[in-house]
């Protein structure tokens, strides 16, 4: 299977991308057989940029980014391909080296902050621990000062007193801020945020997204934002990777993907959520069916059984041949995995008038 290199589109003038994932495949043996959680995934993120990864539950978004931190059980998970973080290969790295990587140069923010924070320890202790693990020479006093400094930076009011609070004494948005503070305490070059705002109110979500963007500007770190909310992607991401059934199905700059999507799955994601300012004649068009099993991948396009535009492809190409990730009609920076001959025209003529009548008229 050939996978188009997408690095060229994201490379920054100052050199190679910080994170480079090449042909990553993750398989888990189960009682029912081998689960192909991620197949031939390639992407890259340079410093100072944000990559958004979208897809349904079970599309491999979280599995692929957990592999970046080496969080899969090395005894059971079968990982092939390469993950290079700042030039160092993560796949096959031994546990001791991984430990020096985690929370230091690469850190992760989890969705459920209440579950991710330890209920027995004070917030300050947990933050200080993350600091002292990677700075063995730092004294407890220094670590505490650092914790207070981080809490202040993520916008926790009166951090000097709140540092001695327990996680349950914080509200949902504040806990998420503590998680972000913990993730950033060692100035990581790469931050992976796994649905960091899904459980939060819109107002708090807006605060967190603003915070992440401010901190990115300050530290020039690379961010991977995993979400199923295209609105969040529109706010924060520079590039978007759409995943389905463990594979990348579309990749490009955020503006390209949201204004000229070329893959029916992306159309489905766009059409299943209404927009708060859209025309009231807009429809919510769901994606029929449910995601396919990852145990025995289909021979053709994984989205074929649910695709409403399959009849526009001649013959049985969709059910027999897996499409390659190729540039469509919109330049080399925008790649998609689909057999449709002229997707942009179909989108403008058929999909857009139903999901955004006002936009379709303007065009």
């Amino acid at each position: 299977m050939t996978s188009t290199q997408t690095t060229s589109t994201t490379g920054t003038p100052d050199g190679a991308p910080y994170l480079e994932v090449t042909d990553l495949t993750v398989k888990f043996p189960t009682a029912d057989g081998l689960v192909n959680a991620v197949s031939d995934l390639s992407y890259s993120v340079p410093l100072g940029r944000t990559l958004g990864i979208v897809g349904e539950s079970g599309s491999g978004k979280s599995v692929s980014s957990m592999a970046v931190l080496g969080l899969h059980d090395a005894r059971s998970a079968r990982i092939t391909g390469s993950i290079k973080v700042g030039g160092r290969e993560v796949v096959g790295m031994d546990e001791r080296d991984l430990r020096s990587l985690r929370g230091n140069t690469v850190s992760m923010i989890f969705q459920d902050a209440l579950a991710a924070l330890h209920p027995f320890y004070r917030v300050g202790q947990q933050l200080a621990e993350a600091y002292r693990v990677h700075h063995p020479s730092a004294s407890k006093k220094e670590a505490r000062a650092r914790a207070i400094d981080m809490l202040d930076r993520v916008g926790i009011p009166s951090p000097k007193s709140r540092v001695d609070d327990f996680p349950h004494q914080f509200s949902g948005g504040m806990r998420q801020r503590v998680m972000i503070a913990m993730g950033l305490i060692n100035d990581p070059a790469l931050l992976i945020a796994d649905e960091p705002t899904t459980a939060l109110d819109v107002t708090v979500q807006a605060q967190i997204l603003d915070l992440l963007q401010d901190l990115q500007r300050e530290f020039n770190s690379a961010i991977i934002m995993i979400t199923h909310d295209l609105g969040v992607i529109a706010e924060i991401a520079d590039d978007v990777l759409v995943m389905y059934s463990g594979r990348a199905v579309e990749y490009g700059s955020t503006r390209e993907i949201l204004s000229h999507p070329e893959m029916p799955y992306t159309w489905g994601l766009l059409s299943s959520v209404p927009d708060v300012h859209s025309d009231t004649n807009a429809r919510m068009i769901p994606i029929p069916g449910t995601p396919p099993s990852l145990l025995n991948p289909l021979p053709g396009c994984p989205f074929e059984p649910r695709c409403a535009h399959r009849d526009k492809v001649p013959g049985d190409l969709c059910s027999t041949t897996l499409p390659e990730l190729r540039p469509g009609g919109r330049g080399a920076g925008h790649v998609k995995r689909c057999h449709l001959p002229d997707p942009d025209a179909i989108y403008e003529a058929e999909v857009l008038p139903e999901i955004a009548p006002d936009l379709a008229k303007e065009n």
């Binding site: 708090v204 295209l230 992607i233 708060v276 009231t280 769901p286």
Partner: protein
């Protein structure tokens, strides 16, 4: 409703591959479009089926120790009034902790309200005893947020949907199964699956089971408390379209509680915005989403991420709300939003703004109501409250007497632009 094709279901005993015959052919795009709905439309002539007037729910806080004295109240819902039109839908939005779920639970009488009335077909639901309530329970049903915890894992789907039918004696015992199968078909599930357990279904399918259970008693009002927020995006649209189908077919009125402003906009022609137990703004879709006059509604709307802005390029200016929602145990004096409000002045701490009708179907509770950037500098409500601009009593002014918030809308309202009373 034959078009509601059953979804495929991942069953552990079946072949793991998603076989073609199991999923059925995906419909062509045109057919798919035909199965969906555009946003629900307001019927201004619809009579209210449920009228909520000055509803209050205070949860007592007891002190510790042997004698558990009452030391305070959580004012979860504090005097809200609204109407739900027959066959229509009212949306209830707000941040977590604003009392929207409590309101839903009051209407279904899972709680007995502390005060106020809920009039439904000649009955006041707030006053009825549990025994008097029972026959009315079939008229008001609820769809819950979490499809995983709201279905009993040890009961089959047939039992779950059939129990309300038996409790209320709607159909004879030997007809229950047939009715259950009909209901399963209505919500787009395979009627042969009545003897399966909830764990055999996906999240979207479980939510359909919850809807079938609520629909079993043919209620006139359904309270949907965050019905799609636990579902995957692609499934959300399926469930919303199903609820629109049900509303069109059976004429059920919905109280739709959600924090997703875009989905509420699609489903509800009328929306009420709650903050800390009070309604701060209520109106039809156009008034709330395009002409919001309350700073909280404006902040809430500006915080919603917008997919389209990426297409146009650039970012909308966001109104940042500082801090968190204050505690409902000891809410701020005067206007409850004032601690986070960019417009707050002296009067806001002294007087609670009345919910003033400012349009044909638009009410707002603010001393300084106006469009973004055009909020008045002097409180508009001062004259009505009989105070000066700082909120101190004005001996020369006579306070308006009927500032009590009534459900529904009047024929006359206070026009913000001309500052006079206008008429329909």
């Amino acid at each position: 409703m034959s078009h509601l094709r059953p979804e495929s279901e991942p069953t552990p005993d079946d072949k793991p591959v998603l076989a073609k015959d199991e999923v059925g052919e995906a419909p062509a795009f045109d057919d798919l479009v035909e199965q969906t709905h555009t946003a629900n439309v307001l019927d201004p002539s619809a009579k209210p089926i449920l009228t909520v007037d000055n509803l209050k729910m205070y949860f007592p806080i007891k002190s510790g120790g042997v004698v558990r004295r009452k030391v305070g109240d959580v004012q979860a819902v504090d005097g809200i009034s609204f109407e739900v039109p027959a066959g229509g839908s009212l949306g209830l939005v707000g941040e977590s902790g604003c009392g929207k779920s409590t309101t839903g639970r009051l209407i279904t009488r899972l709680y007995k309200p502390t005060g106020g009335s809920m009039r439904f077909e000649g009955h006041d639901l707030a006053q009825l005893t549990d025994k008097e309530m029972k026959p009315l329970r079939r008229e008001v049903q609820m769809i819950f947020q979490d499809p995983y915890s709201s279905l009993n894992p040890r009961h089959t789907v047939g039992t779950i949907i059939g129990t309300p039918l038996q409790v209320h004696g709607i159909v004879p015992k030997n007809k229950v199964l047939g009715r259950v199968q009909e209901l399963l078909e209505v919500v787009g599930l395979n009627p042969e699956h009545y003897n399966r357990y909830p764990n055999e279904f996906s999240g979207g399918q479980r939510q359909r089971i919850g809807i079938a259970r609520a629909l079993a008693l043919q209620p006139k009002v359904m309270v949907a408390d965050e019905p799609v927020s636990a579902l995957d995006v692609s499934i959300q649209a399926q469930v919303i379209n199903l609820m629109q189908d049900i509303q069109a077919e059976f004429g059920v009125a919905f109280l739709f509680i959600a924090h997703d402003l875009a989905i509420v906009r699609h489903f509800c022609p009328e929306v009420a915005v709650m903050y800390l137990g009070k309604i701060v703004e209520i109106g039809d879709r156009e008034s709330i989403y395009s002409h919001a006059r309350h700073p909280y509604t404006q902040a809430l709307l500006s915080a919603v991420p917008d997919v389209k802005q990426a297409v146009i390029g650039g970012r909308r200016e966001r109104i940042r709300l500082e801090g968190d929602v204050p505690s409902p145990i000891n809410p701020p004096s005067g206007c409850r939003f004032r601690t986070r409000c960019p417009l707050a002045q002296e009067i806001c701490a002294k007087h609670e703004p009345p919910l003033l009708q400012i349009g044909k179907r638009h009410k707002v509770a603010c001393h300084f109501p106006g469009e973004i950037g055009k909020h008045p500098t002097e409180p508009l409500t001062a004259r009505l409250l009989g105070v000066d601009h700082a909120g101190n009593p004005d001996p020369g002014a006579s306070p308006s007497t009927d500032l009590d918030t009534k459900p529904g809308y009047d024929d006359t309202w206070f026009d913000l632009d001309t500052k006079t009373f206008a008429r329909a």
